[in-house]
């Protein structure tokens, strides 16, 4: 699976960081960083939760 973030939509609420902390990180500069763009299958549930709870619908999951 492949994770992508639309940074025009992202407002750094960091909800994704709560759902999938090994994939998403909001840093002290206030921006979101994707730590793994192709996370392993074992993280699917966490990443799906991040997609579904992103307040700005900025995360897409393919594959």
């Amino acid at each position: 699976m492949r994770v992508s973030v639309n940074f025009d939509l992202c407002k750094s609420n960091a909800v994704c960081m709560d759902a999938a902390p090994t994939v998403f990180e909001v840093r002290d500069d206030g921006y979101l960083y994707v730590l793994q763009e192709e996370p392993g299958e074992e993280l699917r549930a966490e990443v799906e939760a991040a997609v579904a709870t992103c307040p700005t619908q900025a995360i897409t999951l393919e594959g």
Binding site: S12, A14, P55, Q57
Partner: protein, 397 residues
Amino acid sequence: MDSIAVVGASLAGLRAVETLRRLGFAGRLTLIGAESHLPYDRPPLSKELLSGEWDHDRVVLRKAPYDELDLELLLGFRATALDAASRAITLHDGRTVVADGIVLATGAAPRVLPGLPALDGIRTLRTLDDCMGLRADMERGARVCVIGAGFIGAEVAATARARGLEVTVLEALEAPMVRGVGTRIGASLAALHRANGVDLRTGVTVEAVEGDGRVERVRLAGGDVVACDVLLVAVGAAPCTDWLDGSGLVIDDGVVCDETLLAAPGVVAAGDVARWPNPTFDGESMRIEHWTNAAEQGMHAASRLLAADGDGAPFAAVPFVWSDQFGVKIQSAGRFSGADRMEVVHGAIDEHRFVAIFERAGRVSGVLGCSEPRRVMQYRRLIGARTPFDEALTALQ
């Protein structure tokens, strides 16, 4: 289970139907919504959509095709009754939908003030249509008056100021957003609003709303008068449960559920309408009107419905809410009130960049931050882990 009906086509209802299909439910799936619109996102209704920055097609919640969900989509149909025992839903046109499983996600509706006259220009804000009406008023350059400085009222005030409009906010309590942030932080947000040109009046009582056909002024106790062209009443919301009278369900400021979100055999609830004992807070009975909760409960309620009886997982959650006002991102998680012990662990409240944590029963029960999303989320995890307060104080220093 061969058929499921979801009542309420907003965030919780949409996440429920998406989750049911993702978990492999292949039966008949009906989504019933009172509004004629496809599910849309409400937070922009007080921000980007209201400001005119976005058009209404930007707020659709689901970008992927609906065909994939294979829904019987009943939009513009209001549910008027439920019989929980036979799981039969009556719609406003008299038709009946019967299903093996039901998800209740009818949300909440704005509270109204008793005794308000019927004048044009008096508005509430909940739906897309509400937003477009208020936006049209703002485009005419209206003087805006807002009753209630909760999240919605404060956000609308910020949006109206960004459009250069005159804005007066009337609040009965001593500071804005007191229920959400307590009085100390509320005072700093009052200063933020005043610095940005909002005429914020706290501790005031509305005595009368007057006008001739259209709203013209609000009269306050003590004699002050606020002239306005549009009046937004933003005094909170009440769960939409009237239609459940006689359903056999227990209603008490929301649909009363068990800790798994089950309200009756084959009936679950999610979002603003659901009340449940939250295990993360020792079973405290909660009903949460926040976006993230609706998304999380919609997913949980769907999986609960598919689980065997007695086999559902509890919905253990740390409620989270955010608001954007005048470039400041306000976020809070957990439970707290002004009465709880508070420690500022980063930054300074009056600079609108800080993190404060709250203590209840020896544990960290809540976190509130301005423009510190990373740290707020780190503390949210500590709340979920029921971390002792003193340990949390030092954990992230």
